[in-house]
Structure formats: C-alpha cells, structure tokens
C-alpha cells in the first residue's frame, strides 16, 4: 500500500502540542503515532519529549564504553611501550611508573569518552542523514513542524486534524 508524507507547520507551540496529542490519541489506519510522526523544531523543547512519550536515548552507553576503552588502551599502550623501550631507566624511577601513566590514562579516558560519545550521537541521531521528503526552512527559523507518514487514504483525516489546530501550512508530498 502506498504511503505518503504530510508536513504541517505551526507557529504556535501549543497548537503543535495539541495536534500531536490528538494524533496520538486518534487511531488512524496506516498511521502509528510512535513510528510515523516526527516533530521538527527550531529549538530543543524538553516538552516535546514529554508529549511524544518516552523515547530512550542510548548515547550514554557509547560514552561508558569509549571512556573505559580509552583508559585501558591508554594504560596498556603506554606501559607496554615502556616495557619495550630498549634503554629504559630514567631518573631512578621504575620502568613502568604509575603516576605519569595514570595522568596519561586519565587523558585517554577522556579522549575515548568524547570521541565515542560523538560517534554514538551520530549513530543514535542518524547523522549524517538524508534529507527527509518534506522540509521547510521555517523550521530553522521560528516554526514547529510535524511530519507524518500515512496511508494514502488516511491523509485527509490527518489534514483535518492539522487544520483544526491552526496549522499555518500543510505540505503534501507530490502524488505518486
């Protein structure tokens, strides 16, 4: 069954919220409010997360992994290098001295943490992403938009809801 996209643009955050709430509460054929609805906003609204319902974030796990691996890698790389450096004794210290190695381990811990977090961010947020089918530059200005994907026949229902909540503009994907 063919699907089509609709993009509704709102100037008022509350209207958008009301629209989303209604969409979530309305059962529409071929439209799953968890899967098929994307809210695009110019700023980070903590409320959006609330009214869209619980959506988990996994970036922290990347962070944990990155930091631990960075630290371990740092310590063993450095200590291993020291153990293989042919002329090693320096300043009466042990060949594998802890305090300097801990300093470097600490730096590697952070380095791994930051790098892998960003990697996790890109993966979790799906970046770099292909542009979605419908977009308006107003989103990066001051308006909030709801992108929905639905069956051909349900489009009218959705449109009606958007219109009800005073959508400024409703974009439709060109028919196929």
């Amino acid at each position: 069954m063919s699907k089509r996209h609709l993009l509704a643009v709102f100037s008022n955050f509350h209207e958008a919220e009301a629209a989303v709430t209604e969409l979530r509460n309305t059962s529409i054929k071929g439209f799953d409010s968890n899967e098929d609805m994307i809210v695009k906003s110019p700023i980070e609204h903590p409320e959006v997360e609330e009214f869209l319902g619980d959506k988990p974030v996994y970036v922290q796990w990347f962070t944990l992994f990155g930091a631990l691996m960075g630290g371990l890698l740092g310590f063993f790389l450095i200590s291993g290098a020291q153990a293989n450096f042919y002329a090693q004794i320096k300043g009466g210290k042990p060949i594998v001295p802890f305090p300097p190695n801990f300093v470097l381990t600490y730096e590697m811990f952070i380095l791994g943490g930051v790098y892998i977090t960003v990697l996790g961010f890109l993966i979790c947020a799906g970046l770099p992403a292909k542009r979605s089918p419908l977009y308006t530059s107003k989103v990066s200005e001051d308006q909030i938009a709801i992108l929905v994907k639905t069956d051909e026949e349900s489009a009218g229902v959705l449109k009606a809801i958007f219109t009800k909540h005073e959508a400024l503009e409703i974009q439709e994907e060109a028919g196929k």
């Binding site: 110019p42 293989n84 990066s140």
Partner: protein, 459 residues
C-alpha cells in the same frame, strides 16, 4: 535590566546573526590585514631563528626557556574561558551564557592552536618534533611518557580535539539554519555538508541534548587537567619557585581569569564590529564582569597562598627567588603583574564600571597584560636566580626575535578568530531562541502567579 529582550522575533535573530556572515564591513578587512601583517612578523622571526639556531632568541645556558614557554602558558590559559562558559555554566543552567559562549569556544580552539605554535618554535630541532609523538616504529623507540611535556602534549591534543568537536556539535543546528537561509554558493554547499542533514527532529534533539551534556561533563575535568598538567611542567621539577604544591589550582584559576578577561575584550570588539548589541547585552556583560571579578579574587588569594607558603617554608632557594622577583631586575614586571592582576580588577567591583564599555575594554586588556606577566614571572626568575648560585644570570633579556614571535601570535589568533566569525555564526542562534523562549515562559509564569497573588491581595 534584562539579559535579553524577550520580545525579540526569532526570525530577526536569524537575520541579525546571519548578517554577520555576509558582506564584511571595511573595518573587518582592516582587522584581517592588520592581523596578517602582525602574524607575518612572527613568521619572519621563526624563519630567521630556524636558520640561525635558537641563540638568536637570546636565551642562554642556565636560562634555557624564555617568552615562548611563558606565552605558551598564556594562550593555554586563555583557552579555559570557553570551557568555563560553555561547559560549567551549561551544567549550572546559567542561560545568560548562551549568546556569548560560541565565540568563547572559538577562542578556546584558536588559543590552543596558538599555544601549539609556541611549543613548536620553542624546540631547538623543530624538524624533529615528531620524535615526541608515540608512533609505532621498528626500533621500539617511544617518547618518554614520564615527561610532563608529553602529558602536556597529550592533554592539549585531547583538549583541542574535544573542544573542536564540542564547538562543532554545538553548532550543528546553527549550521542548518545557515544552510536554510543563505543564498546559494560555496557557503551553502559548505553548510549543507557540515549540517549533516540536521532538520531539528525530535530524535536529533533528544540525542543532541544528552551528547552535549556528556561532552560538557568531560570537558570540565579535562580543562582542569590541562592546566594542572601545564602547572606540572613546573611543579614536577625541583627548581625553586616552580616546585610549589599549589601550582595546579593556581594555574587553573589564572587560566580562567585570563580567559574571562579575554572574553570581555572580545565581547566588546564583536559587539561593536558585528553590531550584536541586542544579543551581547550590557546585562550579560555585567554578569561576565562579576564572574571575572570573583575569579580575580580567587587568583589573588592563591597568589598570596603561594607567597605565604614559600615565605614560611625553610626552602631558602625558593624564598630567594621570590625576593628576587620583587626586587631584582624583573621587579617592574613582577609588580606590574601584581598591579594588573590584583589591583586593576578592583575597578570591576564598582557597579557603574561594570557596564562602562571603554573602562572595561582598557581593564580587560590590563588584566590580560597582568596575566601574561604572571606567566613570564613564573618562567624567567627561576632560571636567572635558581638553585645553583654560580649560574645566576640577571642580564638575560629576550631578544627581538622572542618579542616578535609573541607579538605575531596575537596576529595569528586574531586572524583565525576573524575568519571564524565570517564563516560561522559567532552567536548561537538556536540557543538565543531557547533563551528567549524560556525567559518568556518564565516571565509569563511570574505574571500569572503575580496576578493570582495580587488577586488574592485584592480580596
């Protein structure tokens, strides 16, 4: 006085900031070419020094470090303000940071890049600098991981790359704005690539929030570690005047201090150059000034602690270095540091000067002069009046090559900064919108509750 006008239209924020990216004013070109000229002085000095040997910098055998190391610390210190504004204040939900953190972060990045240059020009054999990198090789030759200089290299690399990433990640939504609102051309292509397809979807924002917070959390200990490691270059040694336990916090405080002073300077310059009066408001300036004042007092306190602990110790050599600083050939610089670092900031305590732009400009420059002198006074007197009296040397004075390099570094920094300001939005548009949005909500709430209360009162 409000930090920002809450009625400002979001579209206007976009246009105002994006305007700064286009059609530079004449003043901009003057600054850019001026910076280029200043930087070329440093390039000339380096070419000369590279060919002749380090001797032309006029260092000598006990006095082996000079302005290069002092200025290196200065620029490293400068970099800490960006982290302070973007990371610490972010965690503390101080939203007034929002209009000014972007350029502070850029400052972080560029001052680190400037500091890196000083490590390079300091090396006697610059062409062999890669010996200090841990790259695998057949002969199992590794750098010496015990050396604080290597920790430095590692910390700075981590800090620089993390800062660049942090700057970039924080800029993605703005890059999308640029992509959407600028005319077609190479810039549009650039922003299209850099924006990574950002559309402000709920998924993107959700992950963005967590990521940004996480990196901010990492950056704070990182920044502290960077400057305490720089302090370790000195504190880990056995030299009088360097072997001081309080050096790491002292360095960190000094770093934040000089960074804040530099933010004030750049705040004023940007505000004027790009006509950002509506975003870089006097109210925000006032907050920055107060923060600077607080840090100035912390720095002064740590300074006093250092002097006191040296004074009451039995370490004769350290004590003599301190006396030497105050009375010897460096006395002018040392007292200059005390004056600029501890006395001048008292101006900032007065309300009427906290928003007086000419006064603040001069003050912030003096503060930075003081902080530069501080670094020089950490490095030089220990060499000229060290542990071994036979090698005391009170005649050493940096040659024009050293001064030229120091001077030129400001050109390099300005150049990088000016190019950045033309290519990337130096005010975070999406965060200013957030700030306006949240402030509006907050004042609305206040109005509501105020009405209720007054209503109650009417009863």
């Amino acid at each position: 006085m409000k930090d920002i006008n809450e009625d400002i239209a979001w579209a206007k924020i976009n246009t105002d900031v994006l305007r700064s990216l286009e059609s530079p004013r004449k003043l901009y070109w003057v600054i850019v070419f001026g910076a280029l000229a200043v930087f070329s002085v440093a390039v000339g000095c380096e070419v000369y020094q590279y060919n002749m040997g380090m001797g032309v910098a006029n260092m000598d055998n006990p006095h082996v470090w000079g302005l290069y190391i002092a200025t290196f610390i200065f620029w490293i210190g400068m970099s800490h303000s960006g982290t302070l504004l973007s990371a610490i204040l972010h965690l503390m939900h101080a939203d007034w940071r929002k209009p000014i953190y972007r350029f502070a972060e850029a400052m972080t990045t560029f001052s680190l890049m400037t500091a890196g240059l000083f490590v390079m020009v300091h090396l006697g054999r610059l062409w062999q600098f890669y010996y200090s990198l841990p790259y695998p090789n057949d002969r199992s030759l590794w750098p010496n991981f015990q050396s604080p200089l290597l920790w430095d290299a590692m910390a700075i690399f981590t800090y620089l790359s993390s800062s660049v990433i942090f700057l970039f990640v924080g800029m993605i939504p703005d890059l999308a704005i640029c992509r959407d609102h600028l005319h077609a051309g190479w810039r549009k292509k650039l922003y299209t690539v850099l924006a990574l397809g950002w559309e402000g979807t709920d998924r993107q924002w959700r992950n963005f929030r967590v990521t940004y917070l996480t990196i901010a959390c990492f950056l704070i200990p990182l920044a502290v570690s960077v400057h305490s490691i720089v302090a370790s270059d000195f504190a880990m040694s056995q030299q009088p005047g360097w072997h001081v336990t309080s050096f790491p916090p002292y360095f960190v405080a000094g770093a934040l201090y000089s960074g804040c002073a530099a933010i004030i300077t750049l705040f004023i310059i940007l505000r004027y150059t790009f006509k950002f009066e509506e975003y870089m408001t006097l109210a925000i300036l006032k907050k920055t000034v107060r923060l600077t004042f607080a840090i100035a007092m912390v720095w002064t306190y740590l300074n006093a602690v250092e002097f006191a602990s040296v004074w009451y110790s039995h370490d004769i050599a350290s004590k003599e270095v301190l006396i030497q600083k105050a009375t010897g050939p460096y006395a002018i610089a040392w007292w200059g540091m005390i004056f600029c670092g501890s006395v001048v900031p008292l101006i900032l305590a007065f309300k009427r000067f906290q928003t007086n732009i000419p006064v603040l400009l001069v003050t912030s420059l003096l503060l930075n002069l003081g902080m530069w002198l501080e670094r020089w006074m950490i490095v030089a007197p220990t060499f000229s009046h060290g542990i071994y009296p036979w090698t005391w040397d009170h005649d050493q004075w940096p040659s024009w090559v050293q001064w030229g390099m120091v001077f030129g570094s400001f050109g390099w920094f300005t150049l990088l900064f000016m190019v950045f300001c033309k290519v990337f939005p130096s005010v975070s548009m999406y965060e200013v919108k957030e700030m306006v949005y949240h402030r509006t909500l907050a004042s609305k709430k206040l109005e509501d509750s105020g009405m209720q209360e007054s209503g109650k009162g009417a009863h």
